[in-house]
């Protein structure tokens, strides 16, 4: 098993946000985690990327426990990248500079002073700009971009960071249907060599990208399986899918 969560528990002053979660993710897999609000989806991402320390349990990457390490260390030494919920980009820097800051292999203090834009870096960043469809907007400040474009910019930053495992927290949140579809295709094409963990709500989007879906409820795993299995699971429909529909109708 490539990435393995073992008996993962986090206790926020008596509230068990995540309780005894076991999950195994294979290399190159795209895994989607779904569940109602407060199910602990983002908390799991937080623990994998080092933002939150688990109260109990292990996060094994190739057998090495990375739980509780600093997030910069997890990003640098273990190659795990993260896209936040809602676009989280640097608004005072151009699109190009945003990608540049994210660029992998230049995170030490020394390289902050010795960094030069080499032809190789230009080529790499131009390729990413193509992939996220922001070539024309490269010199713009992100605050002039649309919401969807800002989301893509952050995806591009993750590509520049070039991690082995990519965690995406609601990458399609707030997007139009077209944008959501385009995002799904982006994830499928440009992240096909990566291990991807996605937290999402949008069922069409999940259908588009996922092979395996894990359903969380109140900090515990409710079901796990293919999209079809999960979406026909009576228990999942009861706690998650149905209430979702009701909300939409209301």
């Amino acid at each position: 098993m490539y990435l393995e969560l073992k008996n993962l528990t986090v206790d926020f002053n008596g509230f068990l946000a995540v309780h005894d979660v076991n999950m195994g993710i294979e290399k190159g897999e795209t895994r989607v985690i779904i569940g109602p609000n407060g199910a602990g989806k983002t908390t799991i991402i937080d623990m994998i990327t080092g933002k939150t320390k688990p109260t109990k349990g292990q996060i094994l990457l190739n057998g090495e426990d990375i739980a509780g390490k600093d997030s910069y260390d997890i990003s640098n030494s273990y190659g795990i990248g993260r896209k936040f919920q809602g676009p989280n980009v640097f608004d005072e820097m151009s699109v190009y500079e945003n990608l540049e800051v994210a660029l992998c292999g230049h995170t030490s203090l020394w390289s902050a002073f010795t960094y030069r834009r080499t032809p190789e870096i230009y080529r790499q960043l131009n390729e990413i700009l193509e992939q996220i469809d922001l070539t024309e907007q490269r010199e713009m400040l992100p605050r002039f971009l649309s919401h969807g474009q800002r989301q893509w910019l952050e995806m591009g930053m993750i590509l520049a960071q070039n991690p082995d495992i990519i965690t995406l927290d609601e990458p399609a949140a707030g997007m139009t249907d077209d944008e959501t579809f385009k995002t799904g295709e982006m994830i499928k094409s440009i992240m096909k060599d990566k291990t991807v963990i996605v937290v999402e709500h949008d069922m069409d989007f999940i259908k588009q990208i996922a092979k395996t879906v894990t359903v969380l409820n109140q900090g515990e795993i409710l079901a796990e399986g293919t999209y079809d299995e999960v979406s026909h699971n009576a228990e999942v429909i009861r706690v998650y899918l149905k209430s979702d529909d009701e909300e939409e109708e209301a």
Binding site: S71, V101, H106, L109
Partner: protein, 367 residues
């Protein structure tokens, strides 16, 4: 690429103001009295000090309430070096010291003292920064700790009277450092003024380069979104310590240059009150664009001089009212507001020239 020009702008207004400041300071000794040269020489060292804090506060978002420590260290080290050039200074012999304490022996060499007054503040910043930033102390807690540091420093200097001159400071420093000679002749106060001026230019361009380097991009990112930076693999503590050390070295350099202008070093320019003053300079001028720091330091110091003439001890009340007014009406400071105004003006001009779609392609792009 019209939008490129629109967004990034050509030269922003702060660069022109910086140029005006530099030209003004350059020609000042030609038209001013020796007293004016001495006063504005002091102000030049203040602007260097303000640039140091701007790197720390403006560029990295680390408001330091005790920044005068580093200025004080620089000026004390060089000031004591000057005071011991002709034997033991009065405050030491009155204290009962008969021979120069061992730790002051290296200061007998003015060149070594000058180097130390930059290096020692940097080392102190390295040690303080290591403990503060490694333990992830952030925001207002960081600021309060820096205030505690400067209060301790003040207490230390005041209590070690036989070594530091205590509350009355280090006196007996010859004005313009008459004991120092370059090429066989005494260095005049005007020469010192131009040495400080050249240093100001150097520090300004160094800070400008720093802000535009990759290091600058990273510290701006830390200021705007520290968490995001960490998930890209940067250790913010390392960058914060680095910028803390750089700003402390700049402050030490300013402290060193201050000595020949004032011929007197005391806690008045190293303690809590002076630290607050530096904060006020940046609040008035604006942060993060360098010019604001310089303009704030010059303007407030100059007004201090004028107002204390008119109002005596009441000048601080006048200053306080002015400060409240600026913070409320122009929260970005004078220069920061000018830049904002220029930016909006340019956007409007572009809009009127029907380049709307270039300026806001957000609406243009439909997938």
């Amino acid at each position: 690429m019209k939008n490129m020009k629109l967004i990034l702008g050509n030269l922003t207004i702060d660069k022109y103001i910086a140029l005006i400041i530099f030209i003004g300071l350059l020609i000042l000794p030609l038209v001013s009295s020796r007293y004016g040269v001495q006063i504005f020489g002091k102000y030049i060292t203040y602007t260097i000090l303000a640039l140091g804090l701007d790197i720390l506060w403006g560029s990295t978002g680390l408001m330091n309430l005790g920044f005068a420590i580093f200025f004080g260290l620089g000026s004390y080290i060089f000031g004591i070096s000057m005071a011991i050039q002709k034997g033991l200074p009065a405050f030491m012999s009155f204290g009962g010291i008969t021979t120069l304490p061992w730790f002051y022996v290296p200061l007998q060499n003015p060149i070594a003292a000058a180097a130390l007054s930059v290096v020692i503040p940097a080392i102190v910043a390295l040690i303080l920064g290591y403990f503060v930033f490694k333990s992830k102390i952030k925001g207002v807690f960081y600021s309060i700790i820096t205030l505690a540091f400067v209060a301790l420093f003040e207490l230390f200097i005041t209590n070690q009277q036989i070594y530091t001159g205590g509350a009355s400071g280090v006196n007996g420093i010859p004005t313009g450092l008459m004991t120092l000679r370059a090429f066989g002749s005494k260095i005049s106060i005007v020469t010192w003024y131009y040495i400080a001026f050249a240093t100001l230019i150097g520090v300004y361009f160094f800070c400008l380069w720093l802000n535009h380097s990759r290091f600058g991009k990273i510290i701006h990112s830390i200021r705007d979104n520290e968490m995001r930076v960490q998930f890209f693999g940067y250790n913010p503590a390392v960058f914060k310590i680095a910028v803390f050390v750089i700003s402390a070295a700049i402050a030490g350099l300013a402290g060193l240059l201050y000595v020949p202008m004032s011929s007197f070093v005391s806690i008045e320019n190293s303690g809590v009150a002076f630290s607050t003053m530096i904060i006020i300079w940046l609040a008035v001028g604006g942060r993060g664009n360098l010019t604001g720091a310089m303009a704030g330091a010059l303007l407030v110091s100059f007004l201090q001089n004028i107002l204390s003439g008119y109002f005596g001890g009441m000048w601080q009340v006048v200053l306080g009212v002015g400060l409240i007014f600026i913070v409320m009406v122009l929260p970005k400071g004078l220069i920061g507001s000018l830049i904002e105004w220029q930016y909006m003006h340019r956007v409007h001009k572009k809009k009127n020239m029907k380049h709307v779609s270039d300026g806001a392609p957000a609406q243009k792009v439909e997938v």
